[in-house]
Structure formats: structure tokens, C-alpha cells
């Protein structure tokens, strides 16, 4: 009703010439629209879009602290950074560790799905259980890292419990042992991430109509069979989203490492982003850091694409 009144009022106004196909009224709307958008687009342009372009270009230049303060001219060096990277032992160590870190993803996703199934039921107080599982997600990684550093201590509670149960004879140096350190840190990522992915899968589960599972039950399928052949395939969209987020997070892991091991022992927990920050902000070699960042970006995009291919087409059975 009101809409009709508004449009009826239009022809009454004197018709003016359209400029570039837009009437003066449309021009006004466009102007207003862009004024609303301007602050957000300006900030995103400067701090989100510009870095992608300039960052990629930076990887082709010699750019360090002296260039930044203007003491040295910007020098184009082509692919020299990428050639240097090929022979950089620490790059390969960091890349290897980051790739290993992605191993946390399948374990984390599988356990999160089970957790979501466990809390997807009507039980008194289930809300509080969900909250308890979610608390690590919102806790600062610095706090979490400090706690686990203490729990992992030689005379810490984990060693104490294992010794008390007679499972080990000597305390284990969880973060000091070169073979174990990366996995110890990965466990913290796992512990902190469970609740986050649980919520994603819970939403996915609640979107599944119960009829499918009931029908399978009627046909005599067991609980595991229903989960394996009905629930899991229907959860595929959630798995795609969650595992993509998780892979990207694993490739970009930084805070856990920085707080708990500082990249040690013997570079065994030095990951890509850790190395980028080290090159960029300890050595101030921005050009080389940008080249490393480009490699990491390429890796992230490739793995995301792979993830899409697997979960779009074959589904999880293609594993």
C-alpha cells in the first residue's frame, strides 16, 4: 500500500534528462550509497586489498629496513628471492613442519564430529556441557600456551600422572624433545579447536532431517552404520567448510609455537608463519619475507582447492 503511494508520487515530479542512463534521483541514491560504503572500503582497500598486490610485488624487490627509511633505493631483483628460498635450509624445515602440522586436521575434524553427535541430544543441562567444550576456543592463546607449558613441565602434572600410573619410568620432555615437540604443540591446537568445530558440526547435524536416520534405523541399521552411511555423508557440506578453515589455520599456526617453544628445539617447531615473522620482523628483510608469504599463500590456496575437490565430488569415501 505504502509502496504504491510512493511510486505514484514519482511521475508528478518534473522529468529531467538522464545522465549516463541514470536519472538525477538514481544519481543521488548512488552517491548516498557510496558515501555509506566509503569508510569501510577505504580501510579495506588500504589494509586488505593493497597488501595483496603490493605484497606480491614486494617479493620481487630487495626491500629491507634501510629501504624502508629511504637510505637505500628500492631494487628490482626478479625471482632472486625465490631462487634463494630454494637453497634455504630453514625454508624447507619450516615448510616441512607446516605440512606436518596439517596432520592435526583429520584427527581434529573426526573428534569434533563425534563430539557434535554426543551433544546433539535433548538432555537436561546439555547447554552447559556445550559451553564447557567451547571455553578453550575463546580463551587467549597466550593463556592457553602458558597453561600447557606448565602442564608439560618435566615435573608437571602430565608427567606426574603418567609416572604415578606406571606408564613411563622417566619424565618426558614434551616440549624439549626434538621428536615430540611439534606433536605436543599440535595437541594444544587440537584441544583448543574441538569446541569451535563442534559448533559448526552441531549446526550441520541440526539441519539434517531426523527422518533419514529413523528410516535407516527401521531398516535395521546399527548406530555406527547409521552414523557412517547416513549422518556422515549428509554432513559433507559442514565437513568441507570446517576442514577448509582448519587446514588454513594449521598452515598459518603461529601463536601456539611462539608461546610454547619459540620455534625450538633445533627448529623442530619452526613453521612457515613463524619463519615469515622471524625474517620480516627480526631480520627486517621484508622482500624475502614477502616471497615466503607468497609461497605460503600458494600452498593455502592449493590445499583449499584440493579440499573442495575431495568433498564436493567423491565425498569422504574417496579418502
Amino acid at each position: 500500500m505504502a509502496a504504491r503511494a510512493a511510486s505514484a508520487a514519482l511521475p508528478a515530479s518534473p522529468a529531467r534528462r538522464a545522465v549516463l542512463g541514470l536519472s538525477p534521483r538514481q544519481w543521488r541514491t548512488a552517491l548516498i550509497a557510496y558515501l555509506f560504503l566509503l569508510p569501510a572500503l577505504a580501510l579495506l582497500g588500504l589494509f586488505t586489498f593493497y597488501p595483496v598486490g603490493f605484497g606480491s610485488a614486494l617479493s620481487l624487490y630487495q626491500y629491507n629496513l634501510r629501504t624502508l627509511i629511504g637510505a637505500e633505493p628500492l631494487r628490482f631483483i626478479g625471482l632472486d628471492h625465490f631462487r634463494a628460498l630454494w637453497g634455504d635450509r630453514f625454508f624447507w624445515i619450516a615448510l616441512g613442519n607446516s605440512v606436518k602440522y596439517v596432520l592435526v586436521v583429520p584427527v581434529l575434524q573426526f573428534c569434533s564430529i563425534l563430539l557434535a553427535v554426543a551433544v546433539n541430544r535433548r538432555l537436561r543441562g546439555i547447554r552447559w556441557f556445550r559451553a564447557a567444550y567451547y571455553v578453550p576456543v575463546i580463551t587467549s592463546m597466550v593463556v592457553v600456551g602458558l597453561i600447557w607449558r606448565w602442564l608439560y613441565e618435566q615435573d608437571g602434572i602430565i608427567n606426574g600422572a603418567l609416572l604415578g600410573l606406571g606408564l613411563i619410568d622417566r619424565p618426558i620432555s614434551w616440549l624439549g624433545n626434538p621428536r615430540l615437540a611439534l606433536y605436543s604443540v599440535m595437541f594444544v591446537t587440537f584441544w583448543k579447536g574441538l569446541g569451535y568445530y563442534m559448533v559448526i558440526y552441531l549446526a550441520g547435524l541440526q539441519a539434517i532431517s531426523p527422518e533419514y536416520e529413523e528410516a535407516a534405523m527401521m531398516d535395521g541399521a546399527g548406530r555406527w552404520q547409521v552414523f557412517r552411511h547416513v549422518t556422515l555423508p549428509l554432513l559433507r557440506p559442514s565437513i568441507l567448510v570446517a576442514s577448509t578453515i582448519s587446514v588454513i589455520a594449521a598452515l598459518k599456526v603461529f601463536e601456539e609455537i611462539y608461546v610454547m617453544t619459540g620455534g625450538g628445539p633445533m627448529f623442530r617447531t619452526q613453521t612457515m608463519l613463524f619463519y615469515i615473522v622471524d625474517v620480516g620482523f627480526q631480520r627486517f628483510d621484508f622482500g624475502y619475507a614477502a616471497a615466503l608469504a607468497v609461497v605460503l599463500a600458494a600452498g593455502i590456496m592449493a590445499l583449499s582447492a584440493l579440499n573442495f575437490a575431495v568433498f564436493r565430488r567423491g565425498g569422504y569415501e574417496a579418502y
Partner: protein, 275 residues
């Protein structure tokens, strides 16, 4: 009779399992709390020492002897300004995308969508260079500005604007409301639930942000809690109890906000992940 008892048994089993999982996820935080609450004695080892006698000495100690009040203030400033800017700028930007027709709208929408696929870590280096050029290194502005607009927030609020019935807008236009007046008086109140969700998410993100403040802040008296706490643990690593008390103080505000707004949280993640 037997059926009921079997049912009760199953419920008990479910609770036992859920409780065991809750211990797994919550235990480290409870352990931290117990360390912070116990003024003296052993910290490490198994079984964990009971937090008895209880005392607030560690909290008082860390507040008095370490620059924790300063870190708190810094965190409050960064978080307050950051959340405020996000609410304002996202609410402004989402409005025309949802409710005005203008050339370039779809293009802008897709450009924004593409940021969700851009690897954000490239920004670390370039934004540091930009901040140096703008002479903003070691300022709160350098910490806040790169995350002052969240694309997630724009999409979230756009959805909210889209759900407002056209009649309300038409009525306001007939009454002669200006575009800005319409946005402020009619639209903003109606997207309040979306604004609340965004505020909570940005609150947690700014409160916990670590890497970027670590890079752009040079003087410790500007550190937020996350950076400051780690700095203190480096300086006073042997004093586990005081650091634990600081960690608890950093975590409590987040937990309080979370417990009161749980529903918004769960909804926000779902929207963020699936969109």
C-alpha cells in the same frame, strides 16, 4: 519397570561420558585457577595440589607489582575502539548493499566476498611498511585500524538489513526521512541482534589479539594483556603463581561475556562458517 531403569542407566552413561569430556576441556583452566588462588606451596606435580588455603594474594600481588593495570587499560582502549569502529563501519557499509539499488553494487559485493579467500598473512609485512610510512608504529591506531572493518560483520549485518520489511522503509520515506535519518532511526534499532553478535565476536577477537600488536607495538606500556602477559612471563618466568593470576584476570572478562551471551556466540559461528 525394567525399561525405565535401563533408560536411567543410559542417561547416567551419557552424563558420565559428557562429564569426562568436560574435564578434558576444562581441566587445564581449572588448574590455572587453582594455582592462582593458592598463595604458597607446590605448583607442579601430581596429584595437583588442592587450592587450599584460598587466598587472593597472587591477584593483589600481580596487580600491585606488575604493570597489569596498564595492560588492562590498553586492552580496554584497543578493544573498545576496535569494537565501536567495527559496529559503526560495518553497519554503514552493509546498509546500501542490502537496501539501495545503485550501479556497482554486485561488483562491490563480490570484491568483499573475495577477501574471505585472501590469505591474510601477506598483510603482516605490507601493513607494517604502511604503518611505518604513516608514522603510526607504536600507537593504538596501528593496532586497531587494519581490523577496524570486518567483512564477516558486513555480511552478517547485510543479512539483518535484508530481513527488514519494505513497508517500514516506505513509511519512513513518506514521512520525509532523510537517508541518514532513516538509517539511524529506523534501520539501526532493527538490526540490534546482528550488532550484538558482531560486538561479541569482535570483543573476543580484539581482547585476544596477539601477533599484530606484538609486531607494531614497541614500548611495553602500550602492550595489551595478551602481549604483556607473555612479556611478563619472560621476565618473571619463575613466579608461576603471579603469572597464573594475571592469566586468570585476562580470561575472566571473556568468560563473563561468553556465559551471558552464549546463544549469540553459537549463532554467530554458524553464520560465519556457512553464510
Amino acid at each position: 519397570m525394567r525399561l525405565i531403569s535401563r533408560r536411567a542407566l543410559r542417561a547416567a552413561g551419557a552424563y558420565a561420558g559428557l562429564t569426562a569430556l568436560a574435564i578434558f576441556t576444562a581441566f587445564p583452566l581449572l588448574w590455572l585457577l587453582s594455582v592462582a588462588l593458592r598463595p604458597g606451596g607446590r605448583v607442579f606435580g601430581f596429584p595437583p595440589p588442592l587450592p587450599w588455603p584460598l587466598g587472593m594474594d597472587n591477584f593483589v600481588g600481580v596487580w600491585r607489582t606488575m604493570p597489569i593495570p596498564r595492560f588492562f587499560l590498553n586492552t580496554l582502549i584497543i578493544t573498545g575502539v576496535g569494537v565501536g569502529l567495527n559496529l559503526l563501519l560495518c553497519a554503514l557499509a552493509a546498509y546500501p548493499l542490502a537496501r539501495l539499488r545503485f550501479p556497482g553494487r554486485n561488483l562491490i559485493f563480490f570484491i568483499l566476498l573475495s577477501t574471505l579467500m585472501l590469505p591474510s598473512h601477506v598483510g603482516l609485512i605490507v601493513n607494517f611498511v604502511t604503518m611505518t610510512r604513516l608514522h603510526l608504529i607504536d600507537t593504538y591506531a596501528a593496532v586497531i585500524l587494519p581490523s577496524a572493518v570486518s567483512v564477516f560483520g558486513i555480511f552478517l549485518l547485510r543479512q539483518q538489513y535484508l530481513s527488514i520489511p519494505q513497508e517500514l522503509e516506505d513509511a519512513a520515506r513518506i514521512d520525509g526521512a532523510s537517508e541518514l535519518g532513516l538509517w539511524w532511526r529506523v534501520m539501526l534499532p532493527l538490526i540490534a541482534p546482528g550488532l550484538a553478535t558482531l560486538a561479541i565476536f569482535e570483543f573476543v577477537a580484539f581482547w585476544n589479539s596477539f601477533l599484530w600488536p606484538l609486531i607494531v607495538l614497541k614500548s611495553p606500556d602500550k602492550y595489551p594483556l595478551a602481549v604483556g602477559l607473555l612479556y611478563l612471563s619472560g621476565l618473571f618466568g619463575h613466579n608461576t603463581r603471579l603469572i597464573a593470576a594475571g592469566a586468570v584476570m585476562m580470561t575472566v572478562p571473556i568468560l563473563v561475556v561468553f556465559l551471558f551471551t552464549q546463544r549469540y556466540f553459537m549463532r554467530g559461528i554458524t553464520l560465519g562458517a556457512i553464510r
